[in-house]
Amino acid sequence: MKHLSRMITAHNCFCSFLYNIAMLVIMPALLVPFALVIMSFDNYLGIVIMMTLLSCFTLLADYMPFNGITAKGFFLGIIKTSTHVDNFMKDAIIADQIRRFIQIAIPPILSLIIAIISSFNGIDIRFLTFISTIIFLNYSITTGIITFMRNILSNNVHAYISLTLTAIIGALNSGMMFLFLHDSIHIPFMIWLPITFILSVIISIFAFSYTTDRCFTNIKEY
């Protein structure tokens, strides 16, 4: 319990209360109705468009709390002078990854719940698997991209690259929809769920070790 509290303190050290509200409340509140309108025509398309927008906002928003954290010369202020700098940063990064997963999972799950309550057509096991898969896929991609984007200190460069990469994320999401929907593809759709899950785990571990290593290296080499 004490460790959880330290983790939350470390997380909130970088992510302000407003940032958390924007990411965990306001963004789903705006994206879910948007997705539901498109889902009333096509469930898969609604989710794909929403997830692409969600990933774009996630990439852009990460600049606010963690801009340049792994870049040389990033100021960590008071944190640098503490004995607990290593554990503090590790807690902050783990908590951020958990928050990002929740942030990416909330809108599609909410959309799914509303779609079920509203008796939308086509909510079957394939669609449920698709939603789970797309959550893991978008979490993996955004986490991977963010890990490298945290080397960028300039807001303009960060925004430009984020928007460019959003196009790639959109293409990957559409590709996943294609793999789920086209009967001509003889790969069982179920296989994508464990693959994206494993991908999420691998990228999470990589992102954690890269960020912690780099932000401490930065202190040591600066």
């Binding site: 202020g77 008071i78 640098k80 004995t83 600066y222």
Partner: protein, 305 residues
């Protein structure tokens, strides 16, 4: 005067593209307040950041509290826990933090942080009131002076043996500078066995004079003078003379400035006899006169060369 060293720097060297810091030897005396004085870009902040462990790559060695190495500083919590550092970094506290959060975060970062003492100091320094709204104030809404007070409260709320302070006086008003001096005096006096020390850099030499025991003057990355202020005041004499003697005095004085009516400058006490035939007025230099005179002798500023 001789004193045990709280921090010893030996053969320190760090190279940047346009600047090089080269320190042969500094022993910061234990139990005293040491001022690092020098021009902008002289290397004061770099040296303080090296001691604090913020900049870790350099040549040479730094010894802490008599027997801890830099490796110990990273591995043995004792060293960092007993050093309080305040910097000029605008992001020392991130701007979105509330005052309440600064307390929570410092409680996590430092084992010896006393939250109640922190609140008390902040109230004493008029940064917060006892109201709840005061504690929800964001760091970004504070003035530069109040941000310094916040850092100061943070380090004073810990049980430290050494304070490293980079330009603590610069953004403060005259009243608060006086308060800062008395707080540092109280800090030094608060230990029974005289084991608390302060090292600070400053451009506000006259305001900080009454708290400065030991002075180190750094110019162009090297230490050009250091010693207890009382010893330095014996080593140098402040001289004022008439215009007619200016040319002759120029070769004897350590440093000199002149105007229409005469000249003034520092003279080494050992050379004062050489001015005997001239009409001069001598006095004990203030720390400000000492520092400015010595800095002027080594400056790269063209108007002084």
């Amino acid at each position: 005067m001789k004193a045990e060293a709280v921090i010893s720097c030996k053969n320190i060297s760090k190279k940047y593209r346009h600047f090089e810091l080269n320190i042969d030897s500094i022993d910061f005396p234990k139990g005293f307040a040491t001022a690092l004085i020098g021009e902008n870009g002289a290397g004061k902040t770099t040296l303080l950041e090296m001691i604090a462990g913020i900049k870790q790559v350099h040549k040479g060695e730094i010894t802490y509290f008599g027997n801890y190495t830099e490796k110990d500083r990273e591995n043995d919590p004792y060293v960092k826990e007993h050093i309080g550092y305040t910097g000029t970094d605008k992001h020392y506290f991130l701007p979105h933090w509330t005052l309440k959060q600064t307390k929570e975060i410092q409680s996590v970062l430092f084992d010896n942080f006393d939250g109640e003492k922190y609140d008390q100091i902040l109230e004493d320094l008029a940064v917060t009131s006892s109201s709840r709204s005061g504690k929800d104030k964001k760091v970004s809404s504070l003035s530069d002076g109040n941000r310094i007070k916040l850092m100061l409260a943070g380090v004073l709320a810990r049980d430290t043996k050494l304070l490293l302070m980079d330009e603590p006086a610069s953004p403060l008003d005259p009243l608060m500078r006086e308060r800062l001096c008395s707080m540092l005096r109280e800090y030094l006096a608060s230990s029974e066995d005289n084991d608390r020390s302060v090292i600070f850099s400053t451009h506000n030499i006259s305001d900080m004079e009454n708290v400065t025991d030991y002075a180190i003057i750094i110019e162009n990355g090297t230490v050009v003078e250091q010693g207890f202020v009382e010893d330095l005041k014996e080593k140098y004499v402040f001289v004022r003379g008439e215009k007619k003697d200016e040319e002759a005095a120029k070769h004897i004085l350590y440093d000199m400035t002149s105007n229409t009516y005469g000249y003034e400058g520092l003279c080494l006490s050992e050379n004062i006899d050489k001015l005997a035939r001239m009409d001069v007025e001598t006095s004990i230099p203030t720390l400000s006169q000492l520092a400015v005179g010595i800095m002027r002798a080594y400056t790269k500023l063209k108007s002084y060369r």
